[in-house]
Symmetry: C2
Subunit: 140 residues, 2 copies
DNA sequence: TCATATTGCTTGTGAAAAGCAAGTGAATAG
DNA sequence: CTATTCACTTGCTTTTCACAAGCAATATGA
């Protein structure tokens, strides 16, 4: 169950990105953190795409090694951990928003998503600010 | 050799993006088109990451089905085809630039790449315009 | 004009990764 | 002090990747 998604190692920056988040699951985990404020293993597991538990463990480990998320004990429940985005992880938010913007242009939208896409188009900077804030001091 | 990368089909826009370009090779093909102006099968094959020929064929087919690239006969060589970006494909450029920007922040850069990243940071709109122009009337 | 090379693929096969189910161990709840 | 929750790990099957070889259509050179 290697933590190693195979590397391109060409020096290209796109390839570097692919090596760190370019598989079928990693970006969904990051989306869950960025958009839905998820922070615990069980939350990721119960996301709508049903990631397998071994894959999830592997990807979280990889993200931690890459310095994109950090893992800390939950002070209120000693068998739980809290995963949170580092600055390097937060810097991925603009790219994630670009993916959403693109998707929003080419696929039908629920009202909820329509609102998000509108926000990305009209007030990207503000949204970014808001996400940063929310991720750094979560409400729950 | 199915052209079907398995789908998430959750309705999420990030998942939609992943379903259309979220594997280890598709974005590299698009990068080759956007950044290096590649347009033929053989060019993609000889890229620095050494994509396998069956994977390349599969991904090009998929990109065409998704309406991101289009395939046309080369009028100057009847055994060759020319792959080019559609509008839907061109709309992916901002996301690709975001990936590069992110990578540029977290990995050492050659002077050449440094220049590109600087351009993305300082004149993203101009660069985008330039890429559009170059992709739509290629020099070669 | 006829062998040879180029171009864009397809096919076959082993290796790697994904996906599923079941199990483990530590912490907490009842 | 038993049962449950939480965060994983392990084992196994299925799917996908990666490498090598082959192939058909067009082009080139003698």
């Amino acid at each position: 169950m290697s933590t190693s998604t195979k590397k391109h190692s060409s020096g290209c920056l796109v390839a570097y990105g692919l090596d760190t988040f370019g598989d079928r699951w990693t970006l969904l985990i990051l989306r869950d953190m960025v958009l839905y404020g998820m922070r615990r293993y069980g939350q990721f597991l119960s996301g709508e795409e049903k990631i397998a538990t071994n894959i999830l463990a592997d990807r979280l480990k990889h993200l931690e090694q890459e310095g994109i998320v950090q893992r800390a004990r939950d002070p209120e429940n000693r068998r739980s951990y809290i995963y949170s985005l580092t600055d390097k992880g937060l810097d991925l938010v603009p790219m994630i928003l670009e993916i959403i913007r693109w998707g929003g242009k080419y696929t039908p939208l629920t009202p909820r998503r329509k609102k998000l896409v509108g926000r990305i188009n009209d007030d990207c900077a503000g949204l970014l600010q808001e996400i940063r804030q929310r991720v750094q001091n979560p409400v729950e």
